[in-house]
Structures are given as C-alpha cells and as structure tokens.
Amino acid sequence: MRFVRRHILTVAAFIVLVYLFIPVAVVGVLSFNDPPSKYNTKWYGFSLDAWTNMCGIPGVCESFVESIKIGLISTFVATVLGTMVAFALVRYRFRGRKTTNLLIFLPMATPEVVMGSSLLALFLNMTFPLGTTTVIIAHIMFTISFVVVAVKARLQGLDPSLEEASRDLYADSRATFQHVTFPLVAPGIAGAALLGFALSFDDFIISFFNAGTLVTFPIYVWGAAQRGIPVQVNALATLVFLVALAIVLIAQFVAWRRRKALQADMASRDADLKALSMDALSRS
C-alpha cells in the first residue's frame, strides 16, 4: 500500500513538472518553424532562419534591447534601494515598522492592472510625458518589494556569531560589514537582482499602461499577437529562457559544491581531531 502511494505521488509530481514546461517547449519548437504566413501557431517545417537572422523583422531587436536596458537600470536601482530597506528592517530599531512592512507587502498583493493604472493616473495628472523614464520608475516600484523580501530572508538566516567573532577580533563595524556581513549576504542580493531583472524584463501590464509610444519586448509581442507573432520572437524568448536557466543552474551547482566541500572539510577536521586524541591516548 505504501509502495503504491509513494509512486502515485512521484508520478503526479512528475506530470505537474512536465506540464509546467509544455508551453515553454512549444515556444522553443516553434522557433524552428517555417510558417508560410505570419501565423506561427502550428508546425509547417524545420528552419533555422529565425536563429540565424534574429533581427530580421523590423522592431523586434529594438524592443528587445529596450527591455534589457530598462531591466538593467531598474534592477540596479531597485536592488540598491531594496537592500538598504532590508538592512534597516533587520538591523535597526525604528518607529513605523508595521507601516513599513505593509508598504512593502502591498505591491506584491495588488493586481498589476491596478498598479499600472494608478501610476498612469499620477503621470497624467502631472502631465508627465510617458516613455522610458515612466516605465523605469514603474519597474523600480514593483521590484523593490521582491528585493526587500529576498535580502531580508538572507540577512535573517545569517549566523550572528560570525559578526560577533569579527567584533571580538577588534574589527570595527565598517570592517565587519565589508569583510563579513556583505560577502555573506551577497548571494542573496545577487539572487534578488536576478529575480528583479526577470520581473522587469517580462512585465507587460504595468509597462503597457505607462509606456506611451515606447515599445518594450513584451509590448512588441502583445502587438504582434493580434496579427501573428514572427518566428524571431520565439527564438529570442527561447534564448532568454536558456540563458536564465543556465545562470540559475550554475548558481545552484556552485552552492551545492560549496556545501559538499564544507561537509568534507568538517569531516576531515573531525578525523584529524580523532587521530590527535588517539595519539595523545596512546602516548599517555
């Protein structure tokens, strides 16, 4: 009975995981398609055209570059601001902590269409021109919260004894931060930045509200979806997917190796200690 149950669970989990990847596979496969018209929704024949000539359709690459630019700028700002907030929340006592936590939580619990439209209402009432600037402002706004939560989790997981040790060794607070705290938190910050970039790069709804005539990659895809998406779009999206996947898999692998090395190190130290005590025993 337990045997059966165990396998039902494994099979169910496997099916769900496969299900998550089916549309990704469709996007990837269709990037090698050779459709006679612009309607790239079913298979016609194999072609490498989209991959060898990614910028072949006017506007695709421009929008792609625009999205990367917006993603980099907004991720940088959001990561700096969010990390500062996370440090304040974990390391400092101050009034208004509840309000602060609420203001960080709310953007994650607000539908994009509400955030996008309310920000547009602000810009319209201020007669602020829509474009790259307004989209970057919006992206920073909705990524800050994710950065704060990610960095905060990392900070809270830090072993306080490491910083205490640093202070015991007469490091001042600046040296402690520079040589102990920051290197330990850095992977969390890097992960938060990656997440922020992914959110910014893929955002459609909030961007569309605040873009004016600016065309980001998702906005290009949206426009194209009405009249048929060019194969090049599939190739670019597949490329982004593969690069992002490679980055997180490598990070995962590095973390895993470090953990293994640490375990091996501990084991060998244990063995050394044992040998030493055996030695001492045999001498006595």
Binding site: L20, R91, Y92, A121, V149, A150, G191, A225
Partner: protein
C-alpha cells in the same frame, strides 16, 4: 523566487545590538520614499481621477466630484467583475489541486534535489509570459490532440476549448501555478516528517493523516498561495484576450481599453478603484476566516 515564500514576518528583533535609529531611517528613506510616491500616492490620484468630469475635449478632464462615474462604470462593466472573480476563483482552486502533489513531493521526497526542483518550478517563468500564454493556442487548437481527446469524451459543451471560458481558466491556472507551488512548499517544508510517522504509527490511514495532520499544518501556505494566485488572476486580462473571445473578457480589459484606447480616465479609474476595493474586502474576509492574520 524566495520572495514568494512567506517567511515569518513576525517582528524579528534586531539580531545585533540595536544601532542608532537615525542610520536606520536613512537606509529606509529612499526605498520607502519611492514606494510612497509611486505606489501609495497614485492610489490617491486614481481616486481623484475617478471623480473627474469631462471638459468636452477628448482625454481632458476637470477636477470634480462626479460619483455617477461609478454608477456608469458598474452598469457598463459590472458583469465583468463577476466573471473575473469566477475565473480567478476556479483557476485558484485548480492551481491548488495541481500544485499540492508537487509541493508535497519536493518538501518530503526532494532530499538533496530540493534546490534544483525549486529552480525547475520557477524556470518556465523565464520564458515570456505572453508567449507561454500564446503557446496554449497551439496546444488547445481546435484540430489538436487535446481538444480531440475531450471531444471524444464528449465533455466540451461548445465542441472546442480555444476561445471559450475553459481556455481562459486553463491559461490562468497554468500561469499562476508557480505562485501556488512556492508558498505551499515553504509551509510543507517546515512540517516535521515525524508528525506524519507518528500519525501512521497510530494507525491513521493516509487519508486521515492528510486530513488531520498535513493539511492543517500547511494552511499558511495554502492561504498565501491562494492569495498570490487569486489576486493577480482576477486582474489579469492577457489570458482572456489571447485565449478567449469577446464573451470571455475580464475586468482588466475594460480598465485597459478605457484608459488607453478610449482615454475615458474617470471611468477607467473608477473601475480600477472598485477592483482594488473588492479585492481588499475579499482578501480581508478570507484571511480572517482562515485564521491566519499573522501572515501579512
């Protein structure tokens, strides 16, 4: 995406001896200022805009106090709210059913592969949201195998999936699934497996163990996951527009069309204000009834 995992948000006392609060405020100011100006204040402008009156010129409105905007918005688009919440509710329910086995598997059978499996759960989101949604057009195409299979069973009322409510709910379920899996995993991962063993040792059937031990202890994850699915799903209009038809439009479409195409800012703002208001009410009732107030 650790951000989606509800970490304990209870007041964590500073680990290190509290430092000068002034530095704390300085660290907070830029980030919180940004959120205040570009997240909180826009709600005020949205509300003000929702009461503005037309001036005659297209896209230009004068300050006013025209509550009738709300009545007009409701009479024109009221049914879209109901449809949106039904779609979002169904998608949330399906996502919960689909997500639970995977989250359970990763938490209890993941072993050293946990990290990798979580990466696989979020990996699909690296491929464009719009394109993945659009891909469902191919998968659910009228002449495709999925539609053929369900037609053979004779369960499709319209004989097709694409351009029906079924496709929209399926798209919503798929797109927000990772937001369900991650909080569920976070909750289940904290559950001590010895409790399940103890339940088994006491001759509880697997069903009883699930009902009396696993499910109640995973409730914080269930609540967080259902909220993180329901809220974005109810405001989404991408799935409705790419996979549905004119009869499956959701409230987000109406907000977008009125803001960007019709430039009827007061009506669009009124629609947006009401959406946020309804969601706040639904969510606060839900959180209170599920007894997990400390979640937020």
């Amino acid at each position: 995406m650790p951000a989606l995992i509800p970490t304990s948000t209870s007041e964590a006392p500073p680990q290190v001896a509290a430092r000068k609060p002034r530095t704390g405020y300085l660290l907070l100011a830029p980030g919180m200022g940004w959120l205040a100006v570009f997240f909180a204040i826009p709600f005020v402008t949205l509300f003000i805009t929702s009461l503005q009156v037309p001036t005659g010129a297209s896209g230009v409105y004068a300050p006013g106090f025209d509550i009738a905007n709300y009545g007009e918005a409701l009479s024109q688009y009221g049914h879209l709210y109901i449809r949106s919440f039904i779609y979002a509710g169904l998608a949330t329910l399906f996502a919960l059913i689909i997500a639970y086995p995977l989250a359970y598997f990763i938490a209890f059978r993941g072993g050293q592969w946990k990290g990798l499996l979580l990466v696989l759960v979020i990996a699909p989101t690296f491929a464009s949201f719009l394109l993945r949604t659009y891909a469902w057009r191919t998968i659910l195409a009228d002449e495709g195998p999925v539609t053929g299979f369900f037609n053979a069973l004779g369960v499709l009322p319209e004989g097709r999936i694409l351009s029906t409510s079924i496709a929209v709910v399926a798209g919503l379920t798929y797109n927000f699934l990772p937001f369900m899996i991650l909080p569920l995993f976070a909750s289940l991962d904290k559950l001590d497996p010895r409790l399940i063993e103890a339940s088994n040792d006491l001759y509880a059937s697997p069903v009883t163990t699930f009902r009396k031990v696993v499910w109640p202890l995973s409730l914080p994850g269930v609540v967080a996951g259902t909220l993180l699915t329901f809220i974005p799903a109810s405001g989404d209009y991408i799935n409705a527009q790419l996979l549905g038809s004119i009869t499956t439009r959701m409230i987000g479409s109406a907000i977008q069309v009125n803001f960007i195409q019709f430039r009827d800012y007061p009506i669009a703002s009124a629609l947006s204000v009401m959406l946020m208001f309804i969601i706040l009410i639904v969510v606060s009732i839900y959180i209170r009834r599920s007894g997990t107030e400390d979640l937020v």
